[in-house]
Symmetry: C3
Subunit: 136 residues, 3 copies
Amino acid sequence: MSDQPKTAITPPTHTVPPARFSHGVRKGNILQVAGQVGFLPAVEGVPPTPAGPTLREQARQTLANVHSVLTAGGATWEDVVMIRVYLTDTAHFAELNEIYNAYFADLQEPPAARTTVYVGLPAGLLIEIDALAVLG
Amino acid sequence: MSDQPKTAITPPTHTVPPARFSHGVRKGNILQVAGQVGFLPAVEGVPPTPAGPTLREQARQTLANVHSVLTAGGATWEDVVMIRVYLTDTAHFAELNEIYNAYFADLQEPPAARTTVYVGLPAGLLIEIDALAVLG
Amino acid sequence: MSDQPKTAITPPTHTVPPARFSHGVRKGNILQVAGQVGFLPAVEGVPPTPAGPTLREQARQTLANVHSVLTAGGATWEDVVMIRVYLTDTAHFAELNEIYNAYFADLQEPPAARTTVYVGLPAGLLIEIDALAVLG
């Protein structure tokens, strides 16, 4: 049986995960990005701090954090087939779409599929995003 | 490096997505269907309108919309390995299962795995469903 | 066209699913585990009963149930690339991580990516988990 290696992805902007999970995992042609929130790039000795306080700042930082994992795993947004967006407030949907469209304005390939639902998140967090990429 | 094309799937029943995402994406043997809600087939010049007002009507339309994406992407329900169901009310679980079982009564292959959770959705929407298919 | 078989996975500890879904599905090198909750191993004639009442008991039973599906499908935790954790209470995050870290202390490969969000679940359930594995 030919075992494909399973690789953890930890971008330089990220802290070591707070539990036994990886910020991203690649196995074969599948790259899964863990749920990212809008934490600013990690600074040693400082607890994780979200960008903010607006949705715009958090959403852009969250997308940047997903992108850091993709990049560290050898992928680009072009490889992403699914993006899951978790918001905390249905009133944020229109603004999220505006931010999202601006962020992806230059995408060369068809955009990923997306599911957006409204959940609870830890205090101070307005958005969480994960992504599934298929490479090659 | 052999690049597999990444294809956006837009069924004829669907509007252009309201943001930079695709209703479905196919890359290699993976087909990801974006979160579908119970919107009736698109009519030019008319804003998206959910089937309704009951869960039954919305759930059946939502399943039909997932199916439209699968069909437009060259897949069938037989290819689907995972279905994610987002409901807004735990009281809908039993009725959802009844609708679901009737809808899938004639499935020829083992049914997909499923996760059902209860989230917030935009006003008027009772259910959202996405799906992952593996072809070939 | 070479059709890969699609196989339903039903561990001996599980009841027949309450609707037309499978506890797990394998197709090709993809194994998808359906959302598992903390039900104790099935006893004929007895309705599903969650472990409990604490998060610790439910979370460990839920992880055991995911593991049962993986095992019945020929996979191990080492093959899992993504774990989705649905909690009902943000106050459970720290305790969940403690339980999670202890459970995965002996993992030989990099841990799976993870997304944790807070949703509604049927009464009595505190946690639901699903998982995606890539084999081979």
